[in-house]
Symmetry: C2
Subunit: 360 residues, 2 copies
């Protein structure tokens, strides 16, 4: 990861669950070979799989010292809290990791390398603090250039935050690759960047340049790809993050979208107490996403990825069928079942575009 193979400890103290430890779970699912332990004293002694469903027998341990016994050489901040600030109790753990000579990987808005004490410690031990959410110093301004790439651009969008946009993107990439297509994943968030070793966390970029950075990423990825799959962020109906979502949409100039939703979730996750806004129906969401895309570049929603974690298997299958009846589109749970029915529709659309381009 970021330069060389790693032996990582994932810090998820008090929050090692599928819903709270987004970054940890992403790495356990897609780069388990580089994880040696997860730190959460409240679940020490268990395996990763028993806590979050992935990561097999990777042990959950009580503290940094226990992780060191597995010869860890790096510490990842395994949560992505709203607001992006380091829980104060974790600061000491980061300092301890640096004292042991480990590199640090953080996706927080608060840059750890800007913390004078931590930076000094890192320098004295010769280790590196990777703030993966820190954006490049450029100031790119978007101008629909991504609409002109030859590759098909697919964007995952969501009914809310944390519904599976990154996972759906990665699963679709895998399925399309298996079908013989050159599929590329464009990471736009901290976990995606850690997994892909590349990307820009667009929610940490100065707002004038969200679309511009997205455009750059798409154009770069499109050079040797049939399909570029862009990881979406936020949600168009979310009071805090809708601007990030729309900037990303208009920068990507996608040809098609996949709508992601967490089955059973009825209300948006907002930071304050008080009545949370209701999530609209899938049909309304599809209509709104297609409208908003069309303000800059028309794009159709080709299908829905339903995260059915909270349902049992029978309920899950029923939820997929129900969503299919409601929307008339292919519905998949790419993790629990598989992404193929949706990947096939995408591949067909890709083929159509190629034919149209050839005819033109």
């Amino acid at each position: 990861m970021l330069g060389k193979p790693r032996r990582l400890a994932l810090l998820a103290e008090g929050s090692f669950s599928a819903s709270d430890a987004k970054t940890a779970v992403g790495l356990l699912r897609y780069r388990p070979e580089e994880v040696v332990a997860v730190i959460d004293s409240t679940k020490a002694g268990r395996t990763s799989r028993s806590c979050v469903g992935v990561g097999g027998d990777i042990p959950v341990v009580a503290n940094l010292e226990a992780a060191a016994a597995f010869e860890a050489d790096g510490l990842v901040i395994g949560v992505a809290p709203q607001g992006g600030t380091l829980p104060s109790s974790w600061r000491q753990t980061v300092a301890e990791a640096l004292l042991r000579g480990w590199d640090i990987f953080s996706g927080l808005h608060q840059f750890l390398a800007d913390d004078l004490e931590l930076a000094t410690l890192a320098a004295s031990k010769g280790c590196t603090i990777h703030d993966v959410r820190r954006s490049p110093a450029r100031r790119p301004i978007a101008s629909r250039r991504a609409a002109a790439v030859d590759a098909m651009v697919l964007l995952t969008v969501g009914s809310d935050c944390n519904v599976g946009k990154m996972t759906t993107s990665l699963e679709l990439k895998q399925a399309l690759t298996a079908m013989g297509l050159r599929a590329k994943f464009v990471a736009t968030g901290q976990t995606g960047i850690l997994i892909a070793d590349h990307g820009v966390a667009v929610d940490a970029v100065v707002s004038d340049f969200v679309a511009g950075f997205t455009e750059e990423l798409v154009i770069e990825a499109a050079r040797d790809a049939d399909v570029v799959i862009v990881e979406g962020q936020g949600a168009l109906h979310h009071p805090a993050y809708s601007g990030v979502t729309l900037g990303l949409m208009h920068g990507a100039c996608a040809d098609a979208m996949v709508l992601c939703h967490a089955a059973g979730r009825t209300h948006l996750r907002v930071s304050e107490a008080g009545p949370a806004p209701r999530i609209k129906s899938l049909s309304e969401l599809i209509r709104d996403y297609e409208r908003a895309a069309g303000w800059v570049q028309p794009a159709r929603v080709l299908g829905v990825a339903l995260n059915t974690t909270t349902l049992d298997e029978t309920e899950a299958k029923r939820a997929l069928e129900h969503a299919n009846q409601l929307t008339g589109l292919p519905i998949v749970d790419p993790v629990r079942f598989n992404a193929e029915p949706l990947a096939q529709v995408i591949a067909r659309r890709c083929e159509e575009r190629r034919r149209d381009a050839g005819a033109a």
Copy 2:
């Protein structure tokens, strides 16, 4: 301005026109008593009014030395170029101003106080570089709290960038104040901040916090106001800036909007050569803005502010009538004619809300 009355020179070298020198024109319109000269060697010897229609007899001079003859004590970067970078030829002028002991006011994305050479110069001369686009260090997350304020929140939105959102906001504030209402202006861009001595440049904020900062500004302004007028940014259909616009909309949770448009402009101003996207009709724009607002908090467009600078008086009046027929809404050019017809509709809506709140 920013602490004390000033004697400002406005730097607009080679670009002192109404369309290019947005920041200079804003200050000349709303704080002319603090401007002593405009620097543009291509127009030296003329008056401000003859170049941009405002600023009366304030002289346009060839260089910094000539501005110094008018006892200037501050230099304002008078343009807001796309990308926000300091034109390289201007850097020398900034350095010269610092050598004379002037304070610097810049609304660029590129922070001048972070330039080691300029910062050292400023320190040695005891002067201050004000980067008004630099955002506070907080990380506020929005959650529809602005929807709960007692004041009526009005947001200006646009068909494109640079169509008159700030000017319309300030003119409406004046008209509403004249009608006896307590009207507050919320500045969200660099020029507005220089004029109001307060605000946050939301286009320079990390994208996750655009809505959050807007929410804070609205709540603060609403404390002792009947109407809070929020300066809009960008445009929902602009490929580069739509995300800023939507974040601002959803943070402000406005009760009503005013659509701003430059009469006669048919295409969006985008940075690249190539075909610029067409601007939609006023009715389509109103529909799209109301839809997008409604994803978080319903808001109606109450009227249209038409910037008719490019038309003669007869054409201008015809344009207002035509827009009125098209939309059925009050249409004003708040600068050329006056904002009152629109201010009256806003005042009525304000009264309605108060009655409804009283009845509830």
